[in-house]
């Protein structure tokens, strides 16, 4: 089957099987390997991308379902010249990553949160990240980075 969608503003199409997951279509078909597959069981959120502006887990949706959809991946977040966007820059500034495997999903989840809730509270951030698992940081610096990216002071983030 052929599927056509817009990925990071670019019209792309490819031959897929019914069972081809969006994560495979992006990584293997489009060579957009920034979308990571952590668990492949819908638990970890590393594969989070936006579909028509909403965050979803790309390992848990078939590519063929997304005919005509607009998809944004981590590769679509920085400016064309490589300048990091505010969320990515804050993750760097506040050391919101260690091994970095979960980071693409964290950044995409954070971007979805800030679109609907430009000034989230710490608890809103933690609740929003329930579907994104990080095994290194203990989440603390991720929360700080998202607070900073939303233009809020990070000093108030309680150490847990």
């Amino acid at each position: 089957m052929k599927v056509t969608m817009k990925v990071n503003g670019r019209q792309v199409s490819g031959e897929v099987e019914g069972r081809t997951l969006l994560s495979s279509f992006l990584r293997e078909g489009q060579e957009l390997t920034g979308t990571h597959i952590g668990c492949d069981t819908s638990q970890c959120g590393a594969c989070t991308v936006h579909v028509n502006g909403k965050q979803i887990k790309s390992c848990s949706v078939f590519a063929v379902e997304l005919e005509g959809a607009e998809v944004t991946t981590i590769e679509g977040m920085a400016a064309p010249d490589g300048t990091l966007n505010a969320i990515q820059a804050a993750f760097q500034e506040y050391h919101g990553l260690q091994c970095g495997f979960c980071t693409p999903g964290m950044v995409m989840a954070a971007a979805a949160l800030l679109k609907d809730t430009p000034k989230p509270t710490e608890s809103q951030i933690r609740e929003h990240l329930q579907g994104n698992i990080c095994r290194c940081t203990g989440y603390h610096n991720i929360v700080k980075a998202i607070m900073a990216a939303s233009g809020q002071p990070v000093a108030a983030v309680a150490a847990e």
Partner: protein, 262 residues
């Protein structure tokens, strides 16, 4: 997972016709079905996507009844039910995580009837009507045990109709890893009746706690159920909690729900 034929019809009639194939299955948000297929616990020959059918989507209110299309996702319910039926909007907004809520649908939740799914507790407590392409079922007739419903193989949940209560509350005691309720209780107060729907606790799936409903109908306060006990027999026991623990949770959560809704 095994491969399958994929079709995406634009009407309920076409979808029902497509489901006549042996081992065909309807696909809504897929947040349970895809993981199940990856584990090869399901291997349908054909998937019939319901997401191309516009008439299955949306939330509307008329004559005190909220009608939610079967293919409406949880995030939409959380947003659109918020003013008319905040108890249900809260329930929808606590399912899974934000990414799951953008895909998973009420029809999928109801049709799958996972023993720890959230929506069935509200459907039971509210006396909701499950509307399909060919029938209408009272919630109490629809849910028939673990993963078992009144649906035929090729039958599609087109909508769920909830009589909107005067007050309601959902208490979800979350299993932190899965974010399913270890036990969840939906309390709905109507003029002259109270509904208490319990999920995650019983080996027979969702149920109405009838003794609490009777006691609360006369006195809608946590005191009304203080003398009641829930039988631990038939409650789910697993490494997360014993049957006695779940039975205890049913009472505690019902009390909290009544307090919050009062």
């Amino acid at each position: 997972m095994y491969n399958f034929e994929f079709v995406k019809p634009s009407s309920v009639e076409e979808a029902v016709a497509a489901l006549k194939t042996e081992d065909a299955k309807p696909l809504s948000g897929g947040q349970t079905l895809l993981p199940t297929m990856k584990q090869r616990l399901a291997s349908p020959s054909k998937l019939v996507s319901l997401l191309g059918i516009d008439s299955l989507k949306g939330v509307s209110v008329s004559d005190g009844v909220m009608t939610i299309g079967g293919a409406t996702n949880h995030a939409t319910v959380a947003k659109e039910a918020a003013s008319a039926f905040p108890g249900l909007a809260y329930l929808a907004g606590k399912i899974g995580d934000p990414a799951v809520r953008n895909r998973g649908t009420i029809g999928g939740s109801i049709a799958n009837n996972d023993p720890a799914a959230c929506y069935p507790s509200a459907a039971i407590a509210c006396g909701a009507t499950i509307v399909t392409d060919r029938n209408e079922y009272a919630a109490s007739d629809f849910f028939q045990g673990l993963f078992t419903t009144a649906l035929e193989e090729d039958e599609i949940v087109t909508a769920v109709k909830f009589p909107i209560p005067e007050a309601s509350n959902y208490q979800k005691f979350e299993q932190p890893a899965s974010r399913f309720p270890l036990t969840g209780v939906f309390v709905a107060k109507y003029a002259g009746r109270v509904g208490v729907g319990v999920t995650g606790a019983s080996e027979d799936g969702v149920f109405a706690w009838a003794e609490a409903e009777a006691a609360l109908a006369g006195n809608f306060s946590p005191d009304a159920i203080s003398g009641l006990t829930v039988d631990a027999d038939g409650m789910i026991s697993d490494l997360h909690g014993t049957g006695a623990y779940r039975a205890h949770l049913v009472k505690v959560l019902t009390g909290r729900g009544v307090k919050a809704a009062s």
